[in-house]
């Protein structure tokens, strides 16, 4: 059997161009349809039907929305900083789209010219690239908030920066455990290690997963952490002064962020495009596409096929779709936190817990390595799963700690104290 080679030369350029086009189109399409999904799901959660007028089941609603936003009048506040006002939406949108480039979305595809990796750019700095760019997104928000010359917009921008700084810390710390376990920052390697371990990282790193999901909500400015928008307090926060397509760009940016975060969660913790079992495993190891190692340490060559690529693509879409649904579900279920509650959660709970968890995972790994257990193996994952489960249960018990707000019915049952203040007249 001839060894499989990655595409080179002209084929590489053409395949890359095709991938860029396909990924960009898909991302924009998914973003458009996520807006529809948001409205549909919110309607279902509230016993309504949702948009169903444009096209069958309202499927052309995003097109109608886009057309409307393009045709609407653009307004500029009289005393806005015009340059930054225009720059804001762009700065918000572009990082949200760029980050998708380093996420692998399917198993490598064999072609007559070589094997094509199903990732736009497998850059060696993978996760760091995502962290860097997704943090850049906040500049758009802050800048537009400041440039609008509006106090609500300004407060929104201010909150965005504060919130982003707070949760970036917890996000980064929860990622460290993943990086420790993979020993690398490329996302293809993260997927590969999960395939090799036989565990998706959601099990051996369950607490990191929980912390990451919560931080991701804050990072994407979604409810219950949408402090920068906070309709009930800040009109609509940083985009109060924006209209027409510029407003729409913030909207697209928000959903693109959501999509990227969902894809990232799927990749980091749910195995990315992996489906359980060794059938689809594939990784470039010393110039060879392998599916694993034999017991004597020799490599087992992978056999990529179109079918595998398609099936894994569907698996990836399902995982990402699940998180998108989760985002929407949470948004229409939970009320917004107060600003100080968001900050308290970020600094007083998330940060220390993430730090402690990093220590715990590092300690466990150290002990396992000392015991001579094969790093990244199934037993390794099993021990980590057990340790993480205990940490997660501890975290949940600590968060809950019997001091719960249990909803309206329990609120009414709370004791009511009536104080009587004697009036000065003394009657």
């Amino acid at each position: 059997m001839e060894t499989l080679q990655p595409v080179t030369g002209l084929a590489l350029i053409l395949s890359s161009a095709a991938k860029i086009g396909a990924v960009f189109t898909t991302v924009m399409l998914v973003v458009a349809y996520t807006t529809l999904a948001e409205r549909k799901v919110s309607a279902w959660l509230q016993d309504r039907v949702g948009p169903n007028r444009v096209g069958p089941f309202g499927l052309f609603q995003p097109l109608a929305d886009g057309l409307k936003n393009i045709l609407k009048e653009e307004t500029y506040p009289a005393r806005a900083a015009r340059l930054f006002f225009i720059l804001g939406p762009m700065l918000a949108l572009i990082p949200a789209l760029v980050t998708f480039a380093v996420i692998p979305f399917a198993a490598p595809l064999p072609t007559p010219w070589g094997v094509v990796d199903m990732i736009v750019a497998d850059v060696p700095i993978g996760i760091l690239f995502i962290l860097a760019f997704s943090s850049l997104g906040v500049f758009g928000v802050v800048l537009s908030g400041w440039a609008s010359n509006n106090k609500y917009a300004f407060l929104g921008g201010l909150r965005a920066s504060a919130q982003m700084v707070s949760y970036e810390v917890a996000l980064g710390l929860s990622l460290i455990t993943v990086l420790m376990l993979t020993g690398n920052v490329t996302l293809t390697r993260v997927v590969w290690e999960q395939q090799q371990m036989g565990f998706w990282f959601v099990f051996p790193l369950s607490l990191a997963f929980i912390l990451f999901v919560i931080s991701a909500f804050a990072e994407t400015n979604r409810l219950p952490f949408d402090m920068p928008e906070a309709e009930s307090e800040l009109v609509t926060g940083y985009h109060t002064e924006y209209s027409a397509m510029k407003f729409s760009m913030f909207f697209i940016a928000e959903y693109a962020h959501m999509l990227t975060a969902s894809a990232l969660m799927a990749t980091l913790f749910l195995g990315g495009w992996d489906i359980p079992g060794p059938w689809d495993d594939a990784f470039w190891y010393q110039g060879q596409l392998i599916k694993g190692f034999a017991a004597d340490g020799s490599v087992l060559l992978a056999a990529p096929s179109v079918l595998k690529t398609l099936v894994t693509l569907v698996a990836f879409a399902l995982k990402t779709g699940f998180f998108l649904f989760f985002y929407i579900w949470v948004r229409w279920s939970l009320p917004r936190f107060r600003y100080d509650q968001v900050m308290a959660l970020g600094w007083k709970v998330m940060l220390p817990v993430a730090l402690g968890y990093v220590m715990l995972v590092a300690g466990t790994m150290l002990v396992l390595d000392e015991l001579g257990m094969r790093s990244g193996g199934f037993a390794y994952g099993l021990v980590l799963t057990a340790v993480s489960m205990m940490a997660t249960v501890g975290f949940v018990v600590f968060l809950d700690r019997g001091r719960t707000i249990a909803g309206a019915a329990a609120q009414r049952a709370q004791k009511v104290e009536i104080k009587t203040i004697p009036s000065p007249a003394g009657d």
Binding site: V41, A43, W44, L45, Q46, D47, R48, V49, W329, V330, W332, S333, L334, D340, Q341, A344, V396, L399, D400, R401, R403, T404, I405, A406, G407, Q414, K415, V416, E417, I418, K419, T420, I421, P422, S423, D427
Partner: protein, 165 residues
Amino acid sequence: MAISVKVLDRPHPETTSYLRASLKGMALTFRHIARRKVTQQYPEDQTDLSPRWRGTHRMEVHADGRPKCVACGLCPTGGPANCIRLVGGEDDQGNRYPVVYEIDEFRCIFCGMCQEVCPVEAIHVGRHFENAEYTRDRFVYDLDRLMEQEHPATLLWDPSDPRSE
């Protein structure tokens, strides 16, 4: 009298967690996904208007196409909103008829007094509400337009049958 202040024992932010309540809320909303929807698909699925619904006016017409109105002047007098403009005239046989009869649907409060006071049952409020227009002046209905209306007239309230049963 002493002032009494109710002090509620609210949960303190330092000692509360929203975990259980959040999960409960999410379970609740999830259960609603498959529930029966309550949305009324409006243009296809019309609301049954009450027989006493007071909406767009209409003018009753004789068999020969003349309005039944005799320009007695009771409706502009009876209605509180001053929305009816009526100029009466008399033909060569001495029959009174409306030369101008206009109702400003914006001024009208749909009290139904015009129908109540009309001695010849000419002007009616009707069971109809879809009267959107593109310009404001289209909301002043003239006599011809009132005579063209085709919706059913409102059933007047009958004191002996207060629930219209």
